[in-house]
Symmetry: C2
Subunit: 137 residues, 2 copies
């Protein structure tokens, strides 16, 4: 569906520059909710080529700023990879926010790490990143 | 608090490269929940300098990939600007996801645009961006 919009299907476009397209979500969380996509078919954030990272997120930042200029008190920027990802074409949501708008945001329940569990997670992630910026004590 | 971590306060660091630092959220949505921050004090996404955009979001992408390598089915990447922003230092959440994990994600109620309202929003945003990629019919 997003490749169709890139190819010219109807949409309320807000930005079309180089490799990036942005348009209104047709079913917004709040009016002004924008989706920002690379024009080439990139399935998920994990697949995003380095060359598109700056253009995509520069567009996201500019749109977040534009929404504030349109009167929003702030914004919520998010992207789902695989789980909860409704369309298999990378899209970043930029949603205008207003205090008291009812979006629960990050007020989901949080969990606690048991002893040693946090460092075990950190070590596993560092291992996958092939870096180890925090040597063991 | 994040400037303190940049300066050396205890944290479970997962990545420390150039201008970017990433560490575990101490109160995660799910274990493995990472926060990615620029080391310099950037209050919000809207304030992010161009020179930090690629490093910050390249780190986010690499961490999302590492979480999948650690067994996650996907990830949720998000940042709050001003509204719901708990710490006034830009931080991007990278949260490991598993199908059926209970995170409601984007299943918040959606709204509908009334006739003409979507194009009015798109025009207002385009005006603020100083671009008009979609001339009126």
């Amino acid at each position: 569906v997003f490749c169709g919009i890139v190819a010219g299907a109807p949409a309320h476009r807000v930005l079309d520059e180089g490799p990036i397209l942005a348009f209104l979500d047709t079913s917004p969380l709040f009016p002004g909710h924008v989706l920002v996509v690379p024009k080439t078919h990139v399935p998920t954030l994990v697949d995003l080529p380095d060359a598109l990272t700056a253009p995509l997120f520069t567009a996201v930042r500019r749109i977040a700023r534009a929404l504030e200029a349109c009167g929003a008190g702030g914004s919520f920027v998010a992207t789902n990879t695989r789980v909860s990802q409704s369309v298999p074409h990378l899209h970043v949501h930029v949603v205008p926010r207003t205090r008291g708008d009812g979006l629960r945001g990050f007020f989901w329940p949080r969990v606690r790490y048991e002893s040693g569990q946090a460092e075990a997670w950190a070590q596993a992630i560092r291992h996958e990143l092939f870096v180890d910026p925090q040597p063991p004590d």
